[in-house]
Symmetry: C2
Subunit: 115 residues, 2 copies
């Protein structure tokens, strides 16, 4: 590294990262929900390695924002909760991914120009 | 989308995303600091479009984690605060970027297989 200042203005560098979507657990949840018609609560819990309480909180945030839909029912006699991504959720995930790609590109450019 | 369940186990999908580094403002700050020997506080504040108080809080979190170094001094007669990324900070940023790339890839794969 020989530069004294960053090489370009950086406004909006992370403005495309929405706090609701960008949070680690919620980003993982949306990523998984994006791959299926619906995903069962326990599957998500194991996939994300979080407590039920923690997962429930994040599900509520995403549901309140209209990014997922939650359905309750039973399978056999067991209560089940399913999560589906909404159209708005898919759009929000794509916006996040697009911003992340730009960020990754930027860090890799800096790395390339410093070596 | 025709699948009923996600196509693969997703353990550790977001485990590589460290909460300290992944947070939006801090991720932007590390990205910018990674591009220069040192960056001035006000430059960061304008680049990230945050209040001084908010930026100070995030700087403290990163400093406490050993990911940046903070230097205070004057330029002319004006007090200045400079931020430099540490070796540990650079490593943490690269780990985050590597995890983000895997996540981006995964979302794009799901998108490709559903169309």
């Amino acid at each position: 590294m020989s530069k004294q200042e960053p090489h370009s203005p950086v406004n909006n560098l992370t403005n495309g990262l929405d706090e609701i979507v960008h949070q680690r657990i919620r980003l993982g949840l949306l990523t998984i929900a994006n791959e299926a018609v619906r995903v069962e609560f326990r599957f998500l819990q194991e996939a994300m390695e979080v407590t039920a309480g923690n997962l429930s909180q994040h599900i509520r945030v995403l549901e309140d924002a209209g990014l997922i839909r939650v359905t309750k029912g039973t399978e056999g006699r067991r209560p089940r909760t399913w999560v589906s991504i909404t159209r708005a959720g898919r759009t929000a995930l794509y916006v996040e991914i697009s911003s992340l790609k730009a960020l990754v590109h930027r860090v890799e450019q800096a790395d390339a120009s410093s070596t």
